[in-house]
């Protein structure tokens, strides 16, 4: 874990420098307003990244998050339109339940049938997306039909801070707590580090995997409700391709695709990095055509740096430098101390 601190600090420093550099070009970027925008913009991403991180820790991947988000968002928007009397709590509960169900379905396929996660979620990514079209008939749910409670939620201010920020913080803290203080969380690290060993020491592997996918779905579902509220619209193509952003944030944040490695701090920093870059590009008026290329370059650089820092140090078999001088080298010892007697 100690190595990770170094990595997180480096990433935080890079983000800091980036903010300063952007601020030099466009001072408006250094305002509180911008900070709030970045927080608001990153809030939903944090939710999804937390879920994805749990899954990545188990050597899996959840490609269906964006579709889960959109399907849940659409269903909640429709529920809100159909039953205006629903309150924010029940809507939130509904979103969590729908998301968790979709995630659990992934988990079921993966654990019950022992299928590779990447294939299962690739399939459900299309399937959930298609389901949105089926339930909505391709029609949009427009601003005036979005339930006011849904719309109000992402814009609310709690304790003087943006609600999205608080929700993201809560999700991050809950995930951190799970990973640090609960057996279930520790088991995820163990399973990701060595799946067969986890089986042998008696970790209920299937249940843990199921949990990871269910939580990923649940968080994506809540994210869907917030997304629909924030942009006040729901339609089939909502958040297409967002799963790549989610995975990119994890990767930049040092969560290993190979499983077993990653911290909440790192992942949140990964989100912050993406948030800053996304927020800055329009402000410093980089040609919009450059944005995607820059995103790709950032991902590549960060994984390359990751690999560099994470490379296993090899063991030191030879006595370390200083020590060699103290112990007489064997050849020298042999020539200076023949009296110790030859074998035989």
């Amino acid at each position: 874990m100690r190595q990770h601190h170094g990595r997180d600090l480096a990433l935080a420093a890079i983000i800091g420098l980036l903010v300063l550099a952007i601020g030099l070009r466009a001072p408006i970027f250094l305002t509180l307003r911008t900070a709030l925008d970045v927080v608001n913009d990153s809030g939903i991403l944090v939710l999804l990244v937390m879920g994805q991180m749990l899954v990545l820790l188990t050597r899996g991947v959840d490609l269906s998050v964006a579709s889960t988000l959109a399907l849940t968002g659409m269903l909640c928007a429709q529920a809100g339109r159909a039953w205006p009397e629903l309150g924010v709590v029940s809507l939130m509960g509904l979103a969590a339940a729908i998301g968790a169900t979709l995630g659990a379905f992934n988990g079921l396929l993966i654990t019950r049938f022992q299928l590779p996660a990447i294939v299962v979620t690739l399939g459900t990514m299309s399937a959930y997306r298609g389901a949105i079209f089926l339930v909505s008939g391709g029609a949009w749910v427009n601003e005036q039909h979005i339930h006011p409670a849904i719309k109000a939620l992402p814009r609310a201010e709690w304790l003087g801070g943006p609600a999205l920020g608080w929700i993201a913080l809560a999700a991050a803290l809950a995930t951190a707590g799970l990973l640090r203080w609960r057996r279930e969380g520790r088991d995820l690290y163990a399973y990701g580090g060595n799946p067969s060993a986890a089986q042998v020491v008696g970790i209920p592997v299937q249940r843990r995997l199921f949990m990871a996918y269910t939580l990923s779905g649940l968080l994506a579902g809540v994210g869907g409700l917030l997304w629909v509220g924030r942009y006040a619209i729901a339609f089939t193509e909502l958040a297409t391709g967002y799963e790549l952003t989610v995975i990119a944030a994890c990767v930049i944040g040092g969560v290993s695709i190979a499983g077993g490695v990653g911290t909440v701090t790192g992942a949140v920093l990964g989100v912050a990095f993406i948030g800053v870059v996304n927020g800055a590009l329009p402000v410093i008026q980089v040609s919009p055509f450059w944005q995607q290329a820059i995103a790709g370059a950032v991902i590549l650089t960060s994984v390359a740096l990751n690999a560099r820092s994470g490379r296993q140090h090899r063991r030191q078999i030879l006595a370390p430098q200083g020590a060699t001088a103290a112990t007489v080298p064997p050849t020298a010892a042999a020539s200076t101390a023949p009296s110790q007697g030859a074998p035989a």
Partner: protein, 307 residues
Amino acid sequence: ADKIALVVKSLGIGFFDAAHQGALEAAKELKDVEIIYTGPAKATAEGQIEVINSLIAQGVKAIIVSANDPDALVPVTKKAMQRGIKVISFDSGIRADGRLMHLAPSNNAMIGSKLVAMAREVAPKGGEIAVLSATAQATNQNTWIAEMKKVLATAGYADLKLVSVVYGDDQTDKSYREAQGLFKSHPNLRAIVAPTTVGVAAAAKAVQDEKKVGQIFVTGLGLPSEMAGHVRNGAVKSFAIWNPIDLGYSAVYAAHQFVKGTAKGNAGETLSLGRVGKVTLDAGKEAAMAEPFTYNESNVDRFAKIF
């Protein structure tokens, strides 16, 4: 009944759904017409080609398409025409050699000047305006932006300054972020012109969330049903759109005349479009319908119920 296919950029877009309504209306009037409403999963030319291939195999009588790429569809629509299928484009056109006619919802110059006029309405004393477009490749968007620039260059608009063109890729979150970016980089911004339905809604939402209602106005092309809320809360004073129902309706009428052989697709030819009236093909075998219709507080709620 003759099968006439309406191929749209991708399914799930309110504008095209409304056009579908109009098409159905026309089919009902024409009696012996059956409408197939279809489109690819993603708004790409490759997807539309697959769709058109299967329409050819079905033996439809006519294909009406809104193209994701004016050139890419030409080979396949040529193939369709060789096999006796009448192909016309509507909304977003195909290159002239790949279709019999193009029915433009409105003419590009009209749209350009309409957009500028609406911007002028919220910035009577001049000021900075910006454009929030869809994807950088969208042909119609780019044509309209070019037309806007032409109008802005004329004498009466010297005080309206187009400071930026940004692209929201027809994604809600990106459009929203681009709008926020505009607020920051152009503190004196007066209006955002978004000639795309996703963009105009997202920008209006951003204005509202950033509490800039009354300071920055959003205008552009949008559907009444999608924009009604934003007009009510003041982020949008007015916006425009041609009538998609009429567009779909007219396209089917036009296609039907090709199927019946009464239209040939020669320059100067006049086609009758049922209740909408008549259009005449210009040299490029294009026909434009009317100027876009403007919606504001006074009429938006009425139309929101329709499309």
